[in-house]
Symmetry: C3
Subunit: 178 residues, 3 copies
């Protein structure tokens, strides 16, 4: 009888420990996304590039195209070199239309971790923008990140980030990283 | 002396364990809200309906009416059958004005759990919308969820969700579930 | 051999405990921010004032001025008395232009805790507003909180909150607390 009670306690402890582990992983990914947003909002683009693995996929694609399985996107980078190029292109472009950017990332869902330590996750994002000659903040882009994270030397990096935006038409600044 | 120290350590451990439990419950409700938002954003309306208990109350009401204690709302469902009807009505309506929806749910506060396991919570929500013939995302509805959750077979379900929106006038699509 | 394994287990346990502590602190600050937003959204301004320490600094300043190190801001309060004055001034002002406010606070980053228990943190905020004579919600102010928290009788209080908003021009209602 005592053994059954003890076993039950152990099972409850194990379940609790496993919930705590899930919460820790959720917290780790959330922290990553917060640092990611800060790097873009503060235009620390080198820091942004370093958040990807060398072979990372980084894609910005419309919800319409994504739902149809069409790969064509605003941005399509197959490795970190291409991501770095995109960051530098941005640095030149933003000279012409200065603006402030502000990300809000929420609704994070960590979907699971496979045997190799790859972590699948999604999160909704809102990118707000204030142009230097305009008074008000605007919703610039709204969408969902579909991500694969990998651990390198103990730290999370993005192996895949697909930014799937809801907007159907795009203004000429929309090819900003998000 | 040693016993007092040990007792202090035990009290601190108990406080820590209780904080962790509060955080686990917060995380569980947050996860629920993320799945809820995804079901609506991805128009998986059957999944949305299944997140309520059979006797669930689901109400969408203006902040003005709620503050005055007036029950009249845009949507008033007293059980899951009525919620299901509302979901199907939506499916037909959206044919006429196709749009993308995107929820951001934040500022979650778990207010407490009673002896029967009912959990009271609130969260702010922002529902953004992109119409298919418009370029930009708009704030469609902004408000607060006032919720009561109940556990069924180990999983959280909504026994009550009151969506109290700040907007005073409403456009004709506002009777979407939120 | 056994000792090495045991030591490794202990190190892993300590790392896990330290991650949990970080998460508990993050959760505590998040909970504070949620209560802070609710106090403002529900116009409980006395409650809002009580969330600051007696010697608290509360500043609302544009990103442009903050980046240049200019202290000039929309609001500049050096202690709780000034913060209380600001709250009462608000109560009169809002009589003339009634509106609903709704905060969404996200992207919380707890940056660290010093030897005296002061906690540095940042978070992005979005303040949405619905004017009583307008149908739609608008982005009223978007920015970042740069905070220092202090513990008083076990509870967090704001010793410093700098609200750094992205918008460059401001409408006449922007001197609301945020």
């Amino acid at each position: 009888m005592v053994t059954a009670v003890a076993r039950e306690a152990t099972t409850a402890d194990a379940a609790r420990a496993s919930h705590i582990d899930a919460m820790l992983l959720h917290y780790e990914v959330e922290t990553f996304n917060t640092r990611y947003a800060a790097a873009l909002d503060e235009q620390r683009l080198n820091d942004w590039v370093e958040m990807f693995t060398d072979d990372a996929l980084y894609v910005v694609v419309s919800r319409e195209n994504f739902d149809r399985g069409l790969p064509a996107g605003l941005i399509y980078c197959e490795n970190k070199g291409m991501i770095r190029d995109r960051a530098f292109a941005l640095k030149e472009t933003t000279m012409f239309a200065p603006r402030y950017l502000r990300h809000l990332i929420g609704n994070l869902a960590v979907l699971g971790q496979d045997a190799h330590g790859s972590i699948k996750a999604t999160a909704n994002y809102v990118l707000m923008q204030v142009l230097f000659d305009r008074a008000d903040a605007k919703l610039h882009q709204v969408g969902v990140y579909r991500d694969v994270f990998r651990r390198e030397s103990g730290h999370l990096k993005l192996a895949e980030r697909r930014c799937i935006y809801d907007s159907l038409l795009i203004d000429n600044a929309m090819c900003l990283p998000v």
